[in-house]
């Protein structure tokens, strides 16, 4: 295999030509992308017109708004007053939060706050879970399992049950509505600064069940207040927030009052709903109905540092109501399972006062939200 000089030159030029061709071809391999400007002025989807809230009725297997919805936020909320056979008093607050953030299955958090009035001890339990197989679109019943807790909404309007435990405290209750439904803001739909929510209540549910505290078992009965809210809305913490009062007067009347603060911290809405002992429902607006809420005292939580107004006066001119509300126990704060800024006070209170000069008493649950300092966002504070 011998090459003479001329042949070597020829072969060398061939190889050189090939190398140049290869280099040219290789540089032509860069892929280009045609730029496309993002169109401006995009508009949001129109907000749906609020639909009437539907409840389970016989012969109508679908369309039960007691069940869950495909909404960003939804909660089923109970607060109530229980008594054992021996007359020992308890207060409870049970809630199931469901949130859909669009990145996976709904997140569920369930909380139970239990107050033993005799000892003043306040227990706090929670469970959390991702994933939910509910009754979306069906008529019910709906059972939600949150770890080892369960919550059921039956096909009968206002008929619910739950069971919650942490080994030390166990509470299982059967709840049945004893009044008509209470639709807030007349149709059960409330627009807010940050979205709108459907909102209705069963202001009185009979509660029967079993309570275990540290191995001591109580058969309990009592009255609960139920709230159900759902919608594509956002809940903001401090300085936004609210004071919410669920008052059950001994004469059989029920009253919900909410004082809502907006993102600036100012009160942006005061409204309420009154149900007479005979079941008539009346929507209340802050100015029109003369709703005034004042605080008589305050309490600072040792665990979150939040200072809550505890002790209130509630006046509703259109109803002739002048009420004083006193917390049974100061520390009824709920924070487990939530970010620190979402801690809230949810407590059993005593009600006294007068309606049109006639003395009234009752029980209530009060919720105070937006008092705990939010968890700082480090990059925002730099």
């Amino acid at each position: 295999m011998m090459l003479d000089r001329r042949e070597f030159r020829n072969s060398r030029s061939t190889v050189l030509a090939l190398l140049i061709a290869f280099a040219v071809l290789a540089t032509g391999c860069v892929t280009s992308i045609d730029p496309r400007p993002v169109p401006t002025g995009a508009s949001p989807d129109p907000t749906a017109t609020p639909a009437p809230i539907r409840f389970a009725t016989s012969g109508q297997p679908t369309g039960n708004d007691e069940l869950d919805h495909e909404s960003r936020l939804e909660w089923w909320y109970y607060s109530g007053h229980l008594e054992s056979e021996s007359g020992r008093e308890f207060g409870f607050h049970f809630v199931v939060f469901k949130s859909i953030d669009g990145t996976g299955d709904p997140n569920l958090i369930a909380q139970l706050g239990l107050l033993d009035v005799e000892t003043g001890e306040h227990f706090e339990l929670y469970r959390a879970e991702a994933g939910f197989e509910g009754g979306i679109g069906g008529g019910g019943p709906m059972t939600i399992a949150i770890a080892d807790w369960s919550y059921t909404v039956t096909s009968t309007a206002g008929s619910h049950s739950f069971a919650a435990t942490n080994g030390e405290v166990e509470l299982s209750l059967q709840l049945e509505a004893t009044t008509p439904v209470m639709l807030h803001n007349e149709i059960g739909w409330l627009p807010t600064e940050t979205g709108a929510t459907y909102y209705y209540s069963w202001p009185r549910q009979s509660a029967t069940g079993e309570l275990v505290i540290d191995g001591e078992r109580f058969e309990v009965t009592g009255t609960a207040w139920f709230d159900h809210q759902w919608g594509d809305f956002f809940v903001l913490g401090k300085p936004a927030g609210w004071q919410w009062f669920a008052i059950q007067l001994d004469d059989g009347a029920s009253l919900m009052i909410t004082v809502a603060r907006g993102v600036s911290g100012d009160v942006v809405d005061t409204y309420g709903t009154y149900m007479s002992p005979t079941g008539d429902v009346q929507s209340l607006r802050g100015d029109a109905d003369g709703i005034r809420v004042g605080s008589t005292d305050q309490w600072t939580s040792p665990s979150t540092g939040a200072t809550y107004p505890l002790g209130w006066t509630v006046e509703v001119d259109s109803l002739g109501l002048e009420l004083v509300l006193d917390p049974v126990v100061l520390d009824q704060e709920i924070q487990d399972g939530l970010p620190v800024g979402s801690a809230y006070w949810e407590g059993k209170v005593r009600v006294s006062g007068a309606q049109s000069g006639r003395p009234v008493t009752g029980d209530a649950y009060v919720e105070l939200s937006g008092y705990a300092d939010p968890e700082p966002i480090p990059w925002l504070r730099q």
């Binding site: 070597f8 401006t40 949130s99 569920l108 080892d148 979205g195 300085p239 939010p374 966002i377």
Partner: protein, 737 residues
């Protein structure tokens, strides 16, 4: 030149052997350490747009793209059982104290990390360090995390890469331990004598040792992938033994022809030596092309293969003749198998049978080859994930739990960073981001977009402006997390989710479309698309943008080299086309087995659903060179006979007879070596082994034994046609030296 080299080696045979002994002894301590400086992976490139975008997002959004996943489970306790939660907090509580850890997210922070169905929780520790440093750091935190009563599996990027390295090394040991004895057995079968059989194995092995020693030193200066080692070893053993086998058999043939030992060595050197030299050149053409690809894995295979082929060539042309000159007739001692040279064989009758009915053989054989290649048309290219690892490894088991319990790797999430001047909560920036977010939602293949402006479809810039008036006030856990994790000054992250699999071609279209978007407004905004799917898009764009040109270049250069060697226009064309057919058939087999999952139980792997993007290129480079070896060995003998007889049919029959047994033997050895890598745990290595074994098998049976003689018979004198002007400018190479 070869004659001169042969004469020198024969004269200085003891010095040559001694020199080689020194070289091999010098390489000996380093060859086993060849993997010491090799890097895991190597399928990506830091200059890819996805890598650049990743760096921007790491810098501007503190986005941690590397994480360690701790998978905790308990047979009885549910994840939110205080005993379970306490154990998790105790186990990972100290992690945040390491500066290498950016964040730790447990199921208590995000309940989606808990599965009550299987009592399993996964905790993510995002790292601030790069992959290479993370391997060492992984050892520290593995020792730190005490799961107590819980079961713990550690997975995530660093653990997967650690296990890929471990599995590759284990594969290498297993492959070598199987390949060498089997290859020696095959050599015994081919030569029938102990000395002749051991010699090629010894020379081939020496070449591999030297090649690995070179890899050890080169990998300290050039980034090389751990995957290269397996392939380099496979090639080194196969090619080294091939060369030595051809050389030895030619030496034996020369001895049988009555030549003295010295003349026999010189004869072997000028005939087999030339064929080996051209084989090495054609192999190198294919393998050197790998260096042109911007992917470390391919580049390092190219570099490593050049090292071992060069070592094998050098050993075959110097060590082998020196040893043969020393051994002389003793090469035929200790016969323990048949002497194929004394048997009439079946190659002559086979070639005559084929040449009597060339079309009858050609059409069905080519049809079979085309049918074998058909599945290649449905090839889907992708990249590797943890499924390339065996499920006996911890990181793979952890990956499986994450996939099954938490849906990992089943859908695509493409991070798109919007980088601009100013606060993300400024009205104009929110408006721009809102327009981008809405546009992203509208793209084909996008199922959802997560960002601070994609929270609610009924929200417009007005509502978002209210929402972000006081961002810390947002209590909604998911929204708060989005604000905390996906926004910084001058940066908003969009997580574009698609039901498309990251490997699918449709996903690459989506990535391309995302990259084409130009953000609105005058705030200097730019979009940066990263993530696994983007990386795959870049890899495939880079590889397959170049591949056609590299194929063309390799084919042309090989064609010209063969034209110089065989003085023919048609024979190189035939050789190149038949090689392409062999490669396509192996592609078809790859798709049939590794993409579609046939024989996955038998071969013990999980179907990838795609073909790893570097595989077709790698196989092209390796198979093209190897198949060409056989073509050259065959055609050299045919050309040699044709120059002597001037008769095409006689030349084909004689060429087949003289090379048939050796080619079959050599191919058999290579198939054995390649097939031994099918035992590998890492699926990519398994696929290379199988692809190579199938290609060589197809090549040596259908292509060389049937198609080649049929075509040569049909072409007749055109086989040897070369225009006069071409003959004059081509360098002269004589076959009958």
């Amino acid at each position: 030149m070869l004659q001169a080299l042969g004469a020198f080696v024969v004269r200085r045979k003891y010095i040559v052997v001694a020199t080689w002994a020194v070289i091999i002894l010098a390489a000996l301590p380093f060859a086993p350490r060849a993997d010491e400086f090799l890097k895991p992976g190597g399928f990506s490139n830091e200059s890819f747009p996805s890598a650049k975008a990743r760096k921007v997002l790491q810098q501007r959004l503190e986005l941690s793209t590397l994480s360690v996943e701790f998978v905790f489970s308990h047979p009885e306790w549910s994840p939110f059982d205080p005993r379970f939660s306490d154990a998790v907090e105790n186990a990972v509580g100290g992690l945040v104290q390491h500066v290498e850890i950016a964040y730790v997210v447990t199921h208590l922070d995000d309940p989606r990390r808990a599965s009550t169905a299987s009592n399993t929780v996964h905790v993510t520790a995002g790292l601030t360090i790069e992959l290479e440093e993370s391997l060492e750091f992984l050892k520290t935190i593995t020792a730190d995390v005490d799961p107590g009563p819980l079961d713990l599996i550690i997975t995530g990027g660093p653990a997967l890469y650690r296990d890929i390295s471990l599995a590759s090394q284990e594969d290498l040991r297993r492959g070598e331990s199987v390949a060498f004895p089997l290859a020696t057995l095959a050599l015994l079968l081919v030569f029938g004598t102990l000395i002749a059989a051991i010699l090629p194995a010894a020379v081939g092995g020496g070449g591999v040792l030297v090649g690995l020693g070179i890899v050890f030193f080169m990998s300290q200066g050039v980034d090389m992938s751990v995957f290269a080692l397996n392939i380099v070893t496979l090639l080194g053993i196969g090619i080294g033994i091939d060369y030595s086998l051809f050389y030895t058999s030619r030496f034996q043939e020369e001895l049988r022809g009555g030549k003295s030992v010295e003349d026999a060595v010189l004869g072997a050197n000028s005939h087999a030596g030339r064929a080996i030299l051209f084989s090495a050149v054609t192999s190198l053409i294919g393998l050197v092309s790998l260096v042109a690809f911007p992917v470390m894995m391919l580049r390092s295979v190219g570099i490593g293969a050049v090292a071992v082929i060069f070592a094998a060539l050098l050993a075959a042309l110097t060590l082998m003749p020196a040893l043969l000159a020393i051994l002389g007739h003793r090469i035929n001692r200790f016969r323990i198998g048949p002497d194929w040279a004394k048997r009439s064989g079946f190659w002559v009758p086979l070639s005559h049978w084929v040449m009597k009915r060339p079309w009858m053989v050609l059409i069905p054989t080519v049809t079979i080859l085309v049918l074998l290649a058909v599945p290649a048309a449905s090839m889907r290219l992708g990249t590797v994930d943890a499924t390339i690892l065996p499920d006996s490894l911890e990181s793979r088991r952890g990956f499986d739990v994450l996939r099954e319990e938490f849906g990992f790797a089943l859908k695509t999430v493409i991070p798109v960073g919007y980088i601009f001047e100013g606060s993300p909560f400024e009205r104009k920036n929110l408006e721009n981001a809102y327009d981008i977010g809405r546009e992203l939602e509208r793209l084909d293949g996008v199922s959802s977009v997560t960002s601070i402006v994609n929270l609610d479809p009924t929200f417009g810039p007005d509502q978002y402006a209210v929402l972000y008036q006081s961002p810390e006030s947002i209590t909604d856990v998911a929204t708060a997390r989005i604000v905390r994790d996906t926004v910084r000054d001058g940066a908003i992250l969009f997580l574009v989710e698609s039901e498309l699999h990251p490997f699918w071609p449709e996903t690459r279209v989506l990535v391309t479309e995302l990259r084409s978007l130009v953000p609105p407004g005058d705030n200097g905004g730019t979009l940066h698309v990263t993530g696994g799917a983007s990386e795959i898009t870049d890899i495939i764009n880079a590889l397959y943008g170049m591949f056609p040109f590299i194929i063309a270049a390799v084919l042309i250069v090989t064609y010209l080299s063969l034209m110089i060697l065989f003085r023919s226009v048609l024979l190189p064309l035939k050789a190149v086309l038949l090689n392409v057919l062999s490669i396509l058939a192996s592609y078809g087999a790859l798709v049939f087995v590794f993409q579609q999952g046939h024989f996955s139980g038998l071969l013990n792997f999980e179907a990838m659903g795609v073909i790893e993007a570097t595989l077709p290129i790698l196989l092209f480079a390796i198979i093209f060179g190897l198949s060409m070896d056989y073509e050259i060995f065959l055609l050299s003998r045919v050309a040699e006979a044709y120059e002597r007889t001037g008769d095409n049919e006689t030349a084909v029959a004689e060429g087949m007879q003289k090379s048939g047994t050796i080619i079959t033997g050599a191919a058999g050895i290579l198939i054995v070596v390649a097939a031994s890598f099918v035992l590998a745990d890492v699926v990519v290595v398994k696929a290379i082994g199988l692809g190579l074994a199938i290609a060589v098998f197809v090549d040596v049976t259908l292509v060389r034994a049937l198609v080649a003689p049929a075509i040569m018979r049909i072409a007749g004198p055109w086989n040897w046609w070369l225009p006069g002007w071409l003959d004059r400018i081509l360098p002269a190479v004589k076959h009958d030296a």
